[in-house]
């Protein structure tokens, strides 16, 4: 969807049109779900957070004042996930639980096994790094945007993501130089 069409859709959402929200859900539902799923490692939690996100957008939409909608949307999604962590789990417990929640299922297809493996690997990264990686991947944010969002020097963000991605590949048993 081009930015002009997206802006029209956002304006319609701001005026409270249910159809526009449906279109927005169709457009971003899967990406946001993937973001939440990769962070939480749990389908139910990801679905709950997805629902919470779109309900929250009803009241938040008015505060969107241009710029990158993806950036804005995934910032809200990231904050929602942090709230979820704060309210329901201690971060370390979640990481442990995540590893336990995903037992290997030999009957599944190879792609599912790899997905589970990736999920476990993500669970072993610290939550901050895995959120950064997911934010970059799903929200399509540049390092500069991520650094601005986190209010830190770009070198720090670059270093964290590079280190995280490298570790992720190691955990996935992909040869790293």
């Amino acid at each position: 969807m081009d930015s002009e069409t997206l802006n029209i859709l956002i304006d319609r959402c701001k005026s409270g049109q249910a159809g526009a929200f449906d279109a927005l859900i169709d457009l971003y539902g899967n990406r946001c779900f993937g973001f939440f799923y990769r962070l939480s490692g749990n389908r139910e939690i990801a679905e709950d957070l997805l629902s919470e996100l779109f309900v929250k957008l009803i009241t938040k939409m008015g505060s969107f004042d241009g710029g990158s909608f993806d950036h804005w949307l995934f910032t809200i999604a990231g904050n929602l996930f942090k709230d979820h962590l704060r309210s329901r789990y201690r971060q370390q417990k979640l990481i442990e639980a995540r590893a336990r929640e995903i037992p290997p299922e030999p009957d599944k297809e190879r792609s599912d096994e790899r997905s589970d493996h990736l999920q476990q690997a993500l669970g072993r990264l610290d939550p901050e790094t895995s959120e950064l990686i997911m934010m970059r991947f799903y929200a399509d944010l540049s390092f500069k945007e991520l650094a601005e969002k986190r209010n830190e020097p770009i070198g720090t963000t670059l270093c964290k993501i590079h280190r995280g991605l490298k570790k992720l590949r190691e955990l996935m048993n992909v040869p790293v130089r």
Binding site: G16, A18, F21, D22, I25, D26, G29, N30, F33, G34, F35, Y37, R38, R43, A46, E47, L50, S51, F54, V55, I58, T59, S68, S111, R114, S115, L118, I133, R136, F137, D140, L141, S142, F143, K144, I154, G155, L158, C159, I161, H162, L165, K166, L168, R169, M172, V174, V176, R177
Partner: protein, 163 residues
């Protein structure tokens, strides 16, 4: 929007030498490729439908709330306008001084006031006589004070209350 590989190289070269920057860029590219090759599961259509219906419900509630607030403020404004109009069109008529004097004398000269005045005086007399009686009662029961003093002395000098 993510950087292109050239932009990423340029960015990394600001922090590391050309060779290290190239390696870092390659690491990031390969990790991105890895993530792309393993997509996350998709959300079910049923969940999407349920989210849409939740959103519709919230939008309807918001609309109801907004309509209610609008109606309440419209009613408030109507009330203020109506009240102002009423007050302006119904100014109390203040009689002139001579009419006021005439009215006052007419009230006080009214014959029906006599019995009322008599009743008021009679009630006042009754109140006064009751006042006098209470004083007499207090004087008659002057021994009561001595009895209270005795009881206090007993209470202070004995230990009966300790059980």
């Amino acid at each position: 929007m993510k950087e292109t590989s050239e932009q990423l190289n340029t960015l990394l070269e600001q922090f590391a030498d050309k060779q290290t920057a190239g390696q870092m860029s390659e690491d990031i590219r390969q990790a991105d490729q890895l993530l792309t090759s393993i997509p996350a599961p998709t959300v079910s259509l049923q969940t999407l439908r349920s989210i849409k219906s939740q959103v519709h419900g919230h939008l309807a509630a918001k609309l109801r709330l907004r309509t209610r607030a609008w109606l309440a403020s419209a009613a408030g404004i109507a009330l203020i306008v109506g009240g102002t109009f009423f007050v302006r069109t119904h100014q109390p008529v203040i009689p002139t001084e001579s009419v006021q004097i005439a009215l006052a004398s007419a009230i006080w000269d009214d014959d029906s006031l006599g019995p009322l005045q008599y009743q008021v005086e009679s009630i006042a007399g009754q109140v006064e006589s009751l006042n006098g009686q209470s004083e007499v009662w207090f004087e008659e029961d002057a021994g009561l004070g001595a009895e209270i003093d005795d009881l206090q002395t007993i209470a202070l000098t004995t230990d009966f209350w300790k059980g």
